[in-house]
């Protein structure tokens, strides 16, 4: 059998291969040769074969049949064999193969070998791929070697110990005594590796960390001062040729020490204090002209930020970062942006100073820098700079790569929500995002946007007009089309009637609007969800538009047989609405009330003005339970002599009204109305905001002015009503009256309703009563709270009206209350 070729020949041969197939052929031929050679148990050339095998492994070809051969090589006595064998073991074996356990004995013997190089090899291999069992067995040996005086071995042993600790954390305590003397070495290699070992120990176990912060070793003092001393020597010492890198001595060791100091100083005041000086020294003395200096400065800045440093030091750090940002080198700028991102939470103001530079980085060509700059810009947006920043960010959104667009869009939405200076600006911004990056917007943006639009009542006409114009040209961006069709469905009448204060109103006919919605339905580009939106919008328009109802009916009936199940279902239901339930259609399709965000604190009993209280729509509203009081309040108006008294509608009890509106409420129940279950009746006068605050909870004012006598406002036919007063010291124009109604007859009074009216200069609000039944024999009372706002401190007058059922007949009474005590209104 001819001698196998040398590695170099192999490499040369492979390099001559011109195609992948040729290369594969050559390799396979060589593999076959190697395999037969292994089978022959040829000792002399084994090493060469394994070397070739390793090369082929690096190129990506399978080489597992060489594993056993590696073991044989390790066991041999020749150094070259051992060398290749260990290398092969490191590259080919790992703990997943069972073969590696056989190595344990070999390594053990080699760790005690006389030649340091062999020992070194064994340590390297163990440190590279030792499994937990191997580590457990051999940890003792490693520890012994950690204490030798041979620096070559010591540094390798330290690294091996790091690996052992990573694999088997319980063995950490074993290495603790050995570490005491490690830092006393002069040799930088040993210093470096021991710092790594200490870092690993501190990172893994908080107990170790505490131990190292406080321990006093035999001859030297604590750890932190020791490290500080070493660092100082490094900086101060002159040129030392064996450690020099571009003028700075051993930057790698400096960086490692800084990192260890960071871990030691985190959350610990004493250590941090000890480090302050040296950090300042490093920060000021290091040269920044070369990359090496910058690397050290970067590490210093990270350390300063992490430990509890004093403020002067922090300012120094941020200034360094600012200098980095202005540097021309891309790497440095990237690094500066990354660290600024980390510090922006804590030192917000300092970072704001560099805002303009950061915004410039958005225009950089480099992808990594752009990403960092974008994240940092979002972190820096606040109420003052939101307009300027948003302009830059929108410009960035236009021109950036697709992978950024989704993140950028969500970021813009969040920032706009938090800091929008005006509603119109907010809506404009969102529209701009939708038109530029519409297809990348996340799905949950659409409902959020819709909710935002409903909340900004005065902007409806403007919004719907702009959305209409936006989709006129192009309806391929799904989120935009969804929002637009929803808005057109809701506010189509505003669009057609052409009222808009903010912009030039455009003339749109109903047919044009229906045209665009139908084209959305038909288009291939629309997703199924979008089509659903469009169909529902067309349906809603049947109540808003007057002359095109037939066309709408036709469209809806077409889709009754559509292939898409969702569309078909909707169309069929809407058809049914036209045919059988036409009387309910207007009520069903009226305007949505303002939606509350789910995160608001508790359901409010009054939804803030329903907004759509235009008289035109009033007759299509479901007759609310409070409508009767509304009519009666009008009577009260007449009674009180017509000097425009503000009528007050008490809030409705949440009982189900027994009329067509009842079915409506059921149907509306499963629509996504978060908020009060009962739409509040019309004409809720805008109350001063503070009155609305105390809606839910009864404890009204914490600081109650005591001592206002209560009065009996009414006492007739067994029904007695008492008023008790509370006034707040902080807000003297508000009086809170609690009425108590009691019944001294022998029969209950049911369906009790209390109403009140006050003169024009007052404002009054009635909250819900506790119940509508007053039990007989004074055994219980109804309580109700009235709030009166009396800014001009005029005398309080009130006219009350009571209705109830008693002894089977309906009773009704009017009375005037004039005996308010002066303390209640002065």
């Amino acid at each position: 059998m001819p001698a196998p070729i040398r590695l170099r020949e192999l490499i040369r041969t492979i390099r001559t291969a011109r195609t992948q197939a040729e290369e594969r052929e050559m390799i396979q031929k060589e593999c076959a040769a190697i395999r037969s050679s292994f089978r022959e148990e040829d000792n002399t050339y084994r090493c060469r074969n394994v070397a070739k095998l390793l090369y082929m492994h690096m190129l990506g070809y399978p080489a597992h049949f060489g594993q056993l051969e590696c073991l044989k090589l390790i066991a041999s006595q020749k150094f070259t064999d051992k060398r290749i064998g260990y290398l092969g073991a490191m590259l080919l074996l790992d703990e997943r193969q069972d073969v590696h356990l056989l190595m344990t004995n070999c390594i053990k013997n080699d760790l005690n070998h006389s030649t340091q190089y062999v020992q070194g090899l064994a340590l390297c291999t163990l440190g590279c791929m030792g499994s937990s069992e191997m580590c457990r067995d051999l940890a003792g040996e490693v520890e012994k070697l950690l204490k030798t005086s041979n620096s070559y071995l010591r540094k390798k042993a330290a690294l091996c110990a790091v690996h052992v600790i990573r694999k088997v954390p319980e063995l950490m305590e074993m290495f603790l005594p050995a570490t005491k003397n490690l830092l006393n070495e002069k040799n930088h290699g040993v210093l470096h590796t021991s710092v790594v070992l200490l870092t690993e120990m501190c990172e893994r176990s908080p107990d170790m960390l505490a131990h190292f912060r406080k321990v006093r070793t035999l001859s030297s003092s604590q750890l932190v001062p020791q490290l500080v001393r070493i660092l100082k020597n490094l900086i101060m010492s002159g040129y030392s040729p064996e450690h020099d890198v571009s003028g700075i001595s051993d930057p790698f060791l400096q960086v490692r020490i800084l990192r260890l100091l960071r871990i030691l100083g985190r959350n610990d005041d004493d250590s941090s204090e000890a480090m302050n000086d040296i950090l300042a020294q490093v920060a000021t003395n290091t040269e920044t002209s070369k990359n090496v200096g910058n690397a050290i400065l970067y590490e210093t800045v990270l350390t300063i930020m992490d430990i509890k440093s004093e403020s002067g030091l922090r300012v120094l750090a941020i200034n360094i970062l600012g200098r980095f940002l202005l540097n021309n080198d891309k790497n440095i700028r990237y690094v500066a942006l990354t660290s600024l991102l980390k510090t922006v939470q804590t030192d917000h103001n300092a970072v704001q100073r560099h805002r303009s530079t950061i915004v410039d980085c958005l225009k950089d060509l480099d992808v990594s820098i752009k990403r960092r700059a974008m994240e940092l810009s979002f972190a820096l947006v606040n109420g003052n700079n939101v307009r300027g920043m948003m302009k830059e960010l929108l410009y960035f959104l236009d021109s950036c790569e697709p992978e950024f667009k989704a993140d950028c869009a969500s970021g813009i939405f969040l920032a706009a929500e938090k800091y929008a200076p005006s509603k119109r600006w907010h809506i404009d911004t969102i529209m701009r995002v939708l038109t530029t990056a519409g297809s990348y917007v996340r799905d949950d943006a659409v409902p959020n946007l819709i909710q935002l639009i409903t909340n900004s009542v005065e902007m409806h006409a403007y919004t719907v007009q702009r959305l209409y114009k936006a989709i006129l040209g192009d309806y391929s961006q799904q989120p935009l089309v969804q929002v637009a069709s929803w808005c057109i469905g809701e506010y189509g009448d505003l669009l057609v009637s052409g009222q808009c204060e903010e912009e030039e109103p455009i003339q749109v006919t109903e047919d044009e609007v229906l045209d665009i919605l139908e084209s959305v339905l038909i288009s291939n580009m629309s997703a199924s969800v979008t089509r659903g939106y469009a169909l529902t919008a067309i349906m809603k328009l049947s109540t808003r538009f007057t002359c095109t109802v037939n066309r709408i009916k036709k469209v809806v009936s077409i889709y009754g047989s559509s292939i898409d199940v969702e569309l078909q279902q909707r169309a069929v239901e809407y058809n049914a609405l036209f045919k059988k339930y036409d009387h309910m259609r207007p009520a069903l399709l009226e305007r949505m009330p303002v939606m509350e965000k789910v995160t608001s604190n508790g359901p409010a009993e009054i939804v803030q003005t329903n907004g759509e209280t235009e008289p035109a729509v009033l007759e299509t509203k479901p007759p609310p339970p409070g409508l009767q009081p509304a009519i009666q309040a009008n009577d009260l108006l007449d009674l009180l002599g017509g000097s425009d008294i503000t009528p007050v509608i008490p809030t409705a009890l949440t009982s189900k009204p027994a009329c067509a509106g009842g079915e409506l409420l059921d149907l509306l129940g499963d629509l996504n109305l978060t908020g009060s279950p009962v739409p509040v009746p019309a004409a809720q006068i805008a109350q001063p905001p503070f009155l609305l605050d105390g809606l839910q909870s009864q404890p009204l004012f914490n600081d109650i002015a005591t001592g206002i006598p209560s009065i009996t406002a009414y006492n007739k036919n067994g029904l007695k009503i008492d008023f008790t007063f509370e006034r707040s010291n902080t807000n003297p124009s508000v009086t809170v009256i609690t009425i108590q109604a009691s019944n001294s007859t022998e029969l209950d009074m049911t369906d009790f309703v209390f109403q009140a009216a006050v003169p024009k200069t007052f404002q009054l609000q009635l909250l819900s009563p506790s119940s509508s039944v007053i039990p007989a024999f004074n055994s219980g009372t109804i309580t109700q709270v009235i709030k009166v706002l009396n800014p001009q401190k005029q005398q309080l007058r009130m006219r009350i009206k009571l209705t109830y059922n008693h002894k089977g007949s309906a009773m009704q009474d009017l009375a005037e209350v004039n005996n308010f005590p002066p303390q209640s209104w002065q």
């Binding site: 690096m58 990506g60 290398l87 490191m90 890198v245 930057p251 790698f252 690397a295 790497n331 990403r371």
Partner: protein
Amino acid sequence: MIKFFLMVNKQGQTRLSRYYEHVEITKRTMLEAEVIKTCLSRSKDQCSFIEYKDFKLVYRQYAALFVVVGINQTENEMAVYELIHNFVEVLDKYFSRVSELDVSFSVSEIHL
């Protein structure tokens, strides 16, 4: 923590690879191909640090050879950048004016 250390030339041939975490052999070739593609598409004045999946790549080009190091988040990128340069200088001293061929032919020596 350093995850891997690669030396790949412009045609995508790996000259040296050392992995410090277990990566399967099929995945290695794929990883190397992707990494070199990313590095090749960068221009000269772009940043040397790339974010790739869940770790970072630090690369440096020397003539036709790319030295790429994959690190995780806790490492100081600039220190690694210096490390690459230091390594290349050591190779230079050892082989006296190292070139790609030297690297290809002396793989085992470089490893150790």
